[in-house]
Symmetry: C2
Subunit: 247 residues, 2 copies
Amino acid sequence: MKNPPKRPNPIADDGDEFRFCSTCAFSAACLESGYGKPELRELHVLVEHIGPFKEGEHIFREGDEFNAIAAVRGGTVKTYVNDAEGREQVQGFFLPGEVIGLSAISQGRYPCNAVALDTVILCNFSFPTIAALAARLPGLQAQLFRLLSQDIGKAALLAGNYSADERMAAFLISLSRRYAARGFSPTRFQLTMTRTDIANYLRLAAESVSRVFRRFQDDKLIRVDRRDIELLDVKRLEVLARSVLRE
Amino acid sequence: MKNPPKRPNPIADDGDEFRFCSTCAFSAACLESGYGKPELRELHVLVEHIGPFKEGEHIFREGDEFNAIAAVRGGTVKTYVNDAEGREQVQGFFLPGEVIGLSAISQGRYPCNAVALDTVILCNFSFPTIAALAARLPGLQAQLFRLLSQDIGKAALLAGNYSADERMAAFLISLSRRYAARGFSPTRFQLTMTRTDIANYLRLAAESVSRVFRRFQDDKLIRVDRRDIELLDVKRLEVLARSVLRE
DNA sequence: CGCCCCGCTTGACACAGGTCAATGCGAGAT
DNA sequence: ATCTCGCATTGACCTGTGTCAAGCGGGGCG
C-alpha cells in the first residue's frame, strides 16, 4: 500500500502582501464584513506566521498566558489535559484552517496543552487587538461567537455514551469532511495521530481502537495500514456515526 | 425527613426601576463596565420577565428561532436533545442566576429543547440589541465571551469516561457549589429533576443512579429520601469528584 | 376511599470494553 | 546489518454498567 501523493495545501497562500493568510477562518469573517475596507488592513498587519514547530513540540501549555488566537496553517495540533490520575485526555485535533486557543478567551490563560503532531505552522492573531477590532466590525464579532459556539458543539461529540464503533465512525467521518472542506481527498488521508492519541480522544483503550480498526477492515468499511487510511464505504460509516453526529 | 425550609431567593430582587433583574449574570457585566452609565439604561429596559412556566412546560424547542438570551430567575430548567434512537440526552440543568440559550448564538436557532422542571421565571434579553450594545461596551462583550467559554467547560464534565461514582459525586458537588453561590445551603437541597433526568445527564441508566445513591448512603456520604438530599461528607465527595472536576 | 400510574428500587444476568500480558514490526541510531 | 525503542496488534480474562424483569409506594383522580 503506497502513501497517497503529497499535495501542496491548496488553500494556504503565503506570499501576498500584509502577510495575510487566507487559510485562517478569520479571513472569512473579514471577507464577510467587507474585504478591502480600510479597517481590515489593521487585521492583516496583525497576522504573524509562527513556526515551524517540530513533531512533539509544544505550542502552549496549560496555564500559559493567553494573548493570541492561532489558526493552523499546516500540520496537525493536538490539545489535551492531564486528569487527576495523570492520564492524558485529548480534547481535539486541529487540521489546517482550524482555530486553536478559543477556549482561553475568558480566563486569560490556556486551559489545556497544545502539541504539534507533525510539522506545524500557525497564523497568530493578537487577541486584544482582535477584540478591539471586533467591537467595530459586527461581522468579526459574529464570527468569533460562531467559532466559540462550534467549540461547544464539538465537545458534544464526546458527551454521549456511544459504542466504540459509533465513536470511531464519527471520528473518521469528521476527519473526512474536514479534509474535504480544505480540498483534500475525503476518502484517503494520513492519520497524523497515534492509536493512543485516538483512544485518548474517543475515551477508549488503545487496544479497543486497534480492534475496531480491524473489525471495520474485515467488514470492508475501511482499509488501514499504519497511518494510511482509506474509507471504502462512507455511506455505512455515516450510518454508524449518525447518532453521534446528530443528523 | 422534613424538607428544608423554603427561603426566598436572596438574590432575585424584583421591584426596582427599569425592571432590572439583579439575578441575571449579565448584571455582573453591567456593573463591571460601570453601573449607572447612561448606555446601560438601554440594557435595563430590554429586560423582560417572562413566565411563570409550569412544570413540564417547554420554554423553547429545538429549531425555534433564537432572539433572546434568558437568565433563570426562579426554578430549574433542563435542556436536552433527542438522539437518533429517540433517547433523551440531557445537556444541562440551569439553576437560578444561570443563563440559557447561549449556544444558539451562532446559528440563530436553538440547538436543543428547554423545559421547566418546576415553576420557572426567566429574564429575557433581546439578543440583537445585546449584541449591538456589546460592540460599545467592552465589559459586556467580555462577559458574553466568558459565559460562552463556561459552557464549553461544562460540556467537559460529560466528556471523560468516568465511573458512575465519579460522575455522581461531581454532579452533587456541582449542584452544591452552585446553590451555595446563590446563597442556598450547600449541603441540603431538593433535587428538582427525576432519577431518569439525572441518568440521562450523566449518561448512566436510571437503575445505576439508584444504585449509586444507595451505595453513597450506605457509605455515609449522603442521605437521600426521594427528592430531598443532604451531603453528609462533602470532603470525600470532592475527592471522588476530583478527577472529573479537574482540580 | 381505593384505584392506577409513574417514579423509584432491587435483583439476576449479559456483554462491551478495560486490563494485563505477550508478540510483532518499522524506523532510526550505532 | 543489527540493535533498540516505541507503537501497534492480538488473545485471555475480568469488571462495571446496561438490560430485563419484578415489585414497591406515593400522589392524583375518579
